[in-house]
Each structure stands twice: as C-alpha cells, then as structure tokens.
C-alpha cells in the first residue's frame, strides 16, 4: 500500500526556536492518523506546512507519490487537502449556505449549493439546515458547517485541529461516526487532539512530537492514555488524588443571581444559586457559551450584580469591584490567558503586579515596589515550573501551558480563601495540566474553596467533589461527583434535567 501523504525530513525554524526538526512519517489512504504532542511541540507548524500556510525550510512532501509543495492553502485544497481549524472562521450574520459559498473557490449558485449541502450532510450524518443563521448555531453545529465546507471539495485528506474541545460527549460520538465513514471511503484524516481517550477510540496510528522532533509512533489501541501522555512529555506523570476531607463552612454563596450579558451573543445568567464550602472543589461543566464567561465576570467583580446575590464569608459583595474582592480573599483566573488574565505585551513581572499588587503589598504610597514585584514573579516562575528565560519576558512569548501555569500560580501564591478558575487546562499539555490540577487539589486540601469551570468532563470527574452543569445560563443543582456517569452529564449539558438517576 503506497502512502497517501509522506513527509520526509521536514524542518522549519523560527527565530530562536526550531519548530520542526527533520519530521518524517506517512499516512496511508483511509487512515486516521493522530498527531500528538505537548503545546509548542510543533504540531501546528507541521499541519500549517501541509496546508500551505507555512513553507518548510527543508524536507519534502509527497502526495500520491508525487512531489507536493503547496505555496498557499488554495493550492493545498486543489490537491485535495482540507483543514478544519480549531477556531472557526464563520460569519455570524450569514446563513450556513452563504458561509460555505464564501469559502469555496468557484461556488455554484445558491440552489445547487443548497442541494449539495443537504446531500453531503445527510450522507455523513451531519445534520445542518443550510438556511439557518450561523449566529444561532451551537459550537457543534458550527463545526459541522466547517466540515461540510471541506467535504464539498471531495478531499483526499482532512486535517482536524482539536475538533472536540467545543463538543458535548454526544456530539463527539456523531463526529466520530462521520470520521469513520470518511475513513472507510478512503479519505485520510490527520487528527490533532489533547484528549488521549478519544485518540485511543478513533485513531489507527499516532505520531508523537516533542520539541519539534518525532520521538515515537504507536498504535493507540495498544496504549493507555497515561502511557501516551508520558511519551509526549518524556517523563512520568503524577496522577492527582482527591482528598475527600469533610467540607467546612460555606465561604462563597450565590443566591438567585441574575445577570444580563453585556455581549449581544452572550448568555445571560438566570437564578444561579449554590454554596461553595471550605475544602470543597465544585466543578461546573457545560459547553462553552452557556454562561461560563458571565458567571466568571460576576464572581470576579468585573460585572456588578445585586449586592446580596453574591456573599463572601457572609458579607454581601455583589457591588464590590475586583480589588475589594481580592482584599477579602476571593481570587479568580479567567479563561482567556492572553488579553484577560494577562496583558500580552507586558512583562511577567508586570503581569504579576496586575493582580498581585494588593495582597502581595507591591506598592508603597502608590509607587510600584519593583524589586518586590520581580521577586513575586520569580516565586511564581520557580514554584510553578514556568519555563521562561526570566521575569522581563512578555506574557506573549510564553507557550499556552506555561502562561497558564503562571496565571494559576500567581493567584494560588496569594493564598486565596476562595479561588475560581475558568478552563484551567484548556489547550494545555498533559504534564502542565496534571501540575495545575494537582495545585488546585492541594489548595482545597489546605482549606480553600475552589470552583472550577471546565468543558473537560474527565477533568471535572477527576478533581471535583461536587459537579453542577451550566446550560443556557442556568446552573443545575450540584451533585456529588462520585457515582455520576459521563452519559448523565452529557444529558444535563444538552439541557435535559436528570432527576432520579
């Protein structure tokens, strides 16, 4: 069997870093091939070269046994290589069909296109209505639009970058069915994901990258998620352990919180009520866009609410801004690392100052205590194993996982009584994710109350004592994590109330 796509000796260097170093592997026709690696291992650069967005410094690619060197994505598509990006490029205010037509080189007229969209979507089980506005679609449906857009061009090879990060478990099942069907028809799939269980379930082969080099290949079915993760990071992983201590008094209480979203495409919060206790880890699951950001803003104090709807240690704080809440022991870490939790072009010490100024006592009559600030940044870097040349590097220069460790470390070192974090390990490699989860559990063990908002159900099951689901701005009643199944959570995420299970 000749390979559909074979890469040999691909190398690409950026100033200061070799993103890909002599990468070679092959993908057969109809094969589902996983590309594994930590953040910054060079996965993105590699697929960008295959898709014609980046040109290799050296090395060659062969497609169908012929030299293949796409100068731009259009050429890649013409050769039958299609890609579904992690972040969708769709216009909210256009219909599905209009969006698909925009992405095509010579789009047929609307009636024809609509017909073909219906054909393709029903053939592959990707239910979408071509006339609907994209702005009204869920993340899973948007992804289907992207996939259908690719399939309309009859690709020989489909690249998928982190496709399941925005999907419910049920939607993931649908996606996998589609991908298997495509594979049976001879379309090869290059599948990039952090979720090792999914790779085990879906992929036939896996190539593992570390620091730009191929460090191994494996057959995922024969491996465990842990063994693959260890290949990625090149060392043993520690598995965080829950400490089921007795929970103490309620520290953070939300009573009937309503918040109208300030974002026109956001989700308003309705009647959010829960108590968070000393030593407790409460996991809030749900698909992104169901009010997670709004809940975060309400708790951090960036959005103000009715004063008594949020209470910290019995005190009404709904009308207090972020700094008074920090002063009282409530610290938060928002989802978006660059631009929200950290200022991209500012140095790490400035970013340490960003939220640490008050509790770490980093000012003196308004003057910044530069040396103390640097020391605080150094402490974070050392204690949370942030890999960076120093405190004066910009936040932007760190990889996602390292910056996330910095952001989480910055808050944990300030010894919060209540810590609220949104997507603590989103887009973070396995080793960093394990470290972060470990740190969160340790914090709870020492008596803090921890609220973790996450889309990653495995993560929530792993670290939470109680789990609640946020769906269309409403929070389900927290239930003990023990004994709950992924299926039940999936149903709750879809908005179904699970009563007697």
């Amino acid at each position: 069997m000749t390979a559909l796509l074979s890469l040999s000796g691909l190398t690409k260097a950026y100033p200061g870093v070799i993103a890909n170093d002599d990468v070679s592997f092959e993908i057969g026709p109809g094969e589902i091939h996983a590309l594994l690696g930590e953040n910054g291992a060079g996965k993105s650069t590699l697929v960008k070269m295959i898709y014609g967005l980046v040109r290799p410094d050296s090395g060659t690619m062969m497609l169908h046994g012929e030299p293949y060197a796409p100068p731009e994505p259009r050429a890649a598509r013409a050769s039958g290589v299609a890609m579904v990006f992690q972040h969708f490029s769709l216009f909210d205010a256009l219909t599905v069909a209009e969006n698909i037509a925009l992405g095509m080189e010579n789009a047929p007229d609307t009636a024809d296109l609509t017909q073909r969209i219906i054909e393709v979507s029903s053939k592959y089980g990707l239910t979408i209505d071509p006339y609907r506005m994209v702005g009204d679609l869920s993340a899973g449906e948007r992804q289907r639009v992207e996939i259908v857009r690719c399939l309309l061009q009859n690709p020989k090879m489909l690249i998928m970058d982190e496709p399941t990060s925005v999907l419910t478990p049920q939607e993931v099942e649908v996606l996998f069915k589609t991908l298997r069907l495509l594979s049976d028809e001879g379309t090869s799939i290059l599948y990039i994901s952090h979720k090792l269980d999914e790779i085990k379930a879906l992929c036939e082969h896996a190539t593992i990258l570390r620091r730009g080099k191929v460090v191994g290949t494996c057959i995922p079915k024969d491996e465990t998620a842990k063994s693959m993760a260890e290949m990625m990071v090149g060392s043993k992983l520690r598995t965080p352990k829950k400490h089921n201590t007795k929970h103490g008094a309620a520290l953070l209480e939300l009573h009937n919180l309503w918040l109208k979203s300030s974002d026109p495409f956001g989700t308003s919060l309705k009647e959010i009520t829960f108590n968070l206790h000393e030593g407790e880890v409460l996991g809030v699951g749900g698909v992104a866009g169901n009010g997670q950001d709004e809940l975060m803003l309400a708790i951090s104090g960036e959005e103000l609410t009715v004063s008594h709807s949020i209470q910290l240690k019995g005190e009404d704080i709904g009308q207090l801004g972020p700094n008074p809440r920090r002063e009282r022991g409530l610290l938060t870490a928002p989802e978006e690392r660059l631009g929200h939790a950290a200022a991209p072009d500012m140095s790490l010490s400035e970013n340490a100052f960003l939220t640490g100024a008050m509790r770490q006592n980093l000012t003196n009559n308004g003057m910044i205590r530069t040396e103390a600030t640097k020391q605080f940044a150094r402490d974070i870097i050392e204690q949370f194993d942030v890999r960076t040349p120093g405190t004066e590097n910009t936040a932007r220069s760190l990889s996602g996982g390292n910056l996330q460790k910095f952001v989480i470390g910055r808050e944990i070192l300030q010894e919060p009584d209540v810590f609220v974090v949104n997507q603590p390990t989103w887009g973070v490699d396995a080793a960093a994710a394990a470290d972060i989860r470990h740190a969160l559990l340790k914090l709870a063990k020492n008596g803090a109350a921890v609220l973790v908002i996450s889309q990653d159900l495995d993560e929530l099951m792993e670290i939470s004592d109680n789990i609640a689901i946020l769906s269309e701005g409403t929070l389900s009643k927290p239930r003990p994590a023990e004994g709950i199944t992924i299926e039940q959570i999936g149903l709750m995420m879809g908005g179904t109330e699970v009563e007697n299970v």
Binding site: E302, E336, A341, M346, L354, A357, M358, T370, S397
Partner: protein, 361 residues
Amino acid sequence: MFKLERRPTPSNAMVILTPVLAVVLTMIAGGILFAILGKNPFEAIRIIFWDPLFNEVVASYTRPQLLIKAAPLITIALGLSFGYRANIWNIGAEGQFIMGAVAGGAVGLAFYPTESVLIFPLMVLAGAVGGFLWAMIPAFLKIKFNANEILVSLMLVYVAINFLGAMVTGPLRSPVGMNFPVSRNFNEYASAYNGELIANTGLHMGVFVTLAVVIVSYILLKQHIFGFQVRTAGQSPRAAKFSGVNPNVTIAICLGISGGLAGMAGLFEVTGPAGKLSTNFPLGYGFTAIIVAFLGRLNPIGILFAGLLMALTYIGGELAQFQLSVPAASVQVFQGMLLFFMLAVEILVNFRIRFKKKEVA
C-alpha cells in the same frame, strides 16, 4: 521582495532609533520638496535645522525662541501622552489651551489694576481649571453615552475659537485698545505678566513648570501604579478591568490631565510670549503637540526632545520663509511629514524586515 515578520518581543533599540529615522526621512523628503520648489535643498535643511541654533547672526534671537515655543508643546504633549497610552484620544488640546488662556486671563484681568503676588498663581490655577473643565465635556459624553472623544474634543476646538472671539470683542475687550478685538496687554500689568526671568534666554515661569511636569510624568509613568494602570488599559483593556481598573475613571483622569496641562500652557503663553488675548492667539500648539507626543513615543524624556525639535522646525521654518521665500505652509508640510514618517517607521518596533531569497521550489 521582503516581508515583515513579527518580533518575539518589541525591540528596545528600535524604540530609540525610530524617531531619529523619522527625522532623517523627513529631511530627505523635505529636501526633495524644496528642490522641486527650485530651492537648494541643502541650504534649506541647514537653515531649518542648523541656523536657529548655531548661526551667529540669528541665534541670539532664535535660541530663546526655542524654549518659548518648546515649553507649551512639551507641556501639552505630556498631558496627551497619558490618554494616548490608554487609547483615549484627546485631539482637542488646542481648544483646552485656548480655554485655559481665556479663563486664566479673565481672572487676571478681573483684578486689574490691583497688584499682588497671589494674582499670578491664581491665574495659573484658573487656566488649568479652564482647560480641565473643557476636557471634561468629551469625558462626560464618552462615559455617559459612549460618544467618540476624538470627534467631540476636536469639534470643541472650534467652539473654543469662537468663544475666544466673543470674549475679546465683548467682556474682555481692552478699554484702551482702540476697539480692536484684543484684551488688555499683560505686560502692562505686572502682577499678571509672565515675563522672562533671565533676559534674552526665553526662560519664563512656564518653562520651569514644563520641566517639573516632565519629571513628574516620568515618575508617574514608570514608577507609579497610575502609570501602570494607564498602560494596561491601553494595551489590554480586559486585563485592566480584571485587575480592578475602572475604565470610566481612567477616561476622566486622562482627559482631565491633558485638559489641565493644556489650559495651564495656554495661560503661560497668553500672559508671556503672546502678551494678550486676541483672535490671533491660537497658533496650533494643541495640534502640533499631538505630533510631539508621538515623535517622543509617549515617553516623557522623548517628548522633551521631540518638543525641542518641533520648536526648531517652527523657528527654522520661519527663517526659511524670509531667507528663501518658501511658502509658509512648507513648515506645516514638514511637521506633517514628521508625523507621517514616525507612524510609518513605528512598525519596526514590533516587526522586522526580512528580505526573501529566491525560493527554490
């Protein structure tokens, strides 16, 4: 061909080099412009950039002028730089400058002919308050209705110009001015006169205040939490809000500072170099200060040098006007080019140019 490539971290060398590069490019482009006008470009450049400082014939007049012209430019630009760092675009410093001069001048004239050492400080205060209040109009409208401060502050310049006109033809018209639209001359009123402190140096009170403002701005920006908040608000508004910076307070403070400083500069100008309120009083310092702020890269020390350089182009431009009889507009073209090149080369701070080799397919 070449392409731009993002630098991993902004280049510190380029932060310093870009203003120099902009000046050089302006000289080249300006030289070409003069050549097209039929003048010797080298002579023109020498007259503008060299003669005001070192030509023995004119320097005794032009050197003091340098400080007189630079002081208001620097003071206003420093005020603007805070807002610009926070993405708050006060384009109406000219209006705040005029309102400061009118308010401060009116307070002084109200006391005429009483003599007291308290009058001048009171006028300075009134000038700052006048500019501050004028800047509070766009601030209020932005906070309350999200009105664009660029448009509002700019439009208020023309309101201020007309207000000045109304004042000097009405309540503030000089009783001894033969009905010309001018106020009383401040150099005839000792308590309100901002004269040279040392003869023939150009050093008046405003110059010292400017120096003080440079130092205070530098400390605020580099060492104080306020400077940090302003920078964060500009670079990353959501991170700033997360860290507890109230965006509305930032808007009010930034516009307030720039308005207050522009108003104070207006007061020093009207009571000293200009000498009186008149319809000829607005010289465009408020607009030129925008160029100064950018040329100085919003850095207080940079603004100090940029203000001196811009003052030089004013004086040198005047020299070129009567020595080479180039049109008056050529100075403005020069200043415009300086801003243009400054904004163009600024990209080199965050990007570097890569020359592509021929690709082998």
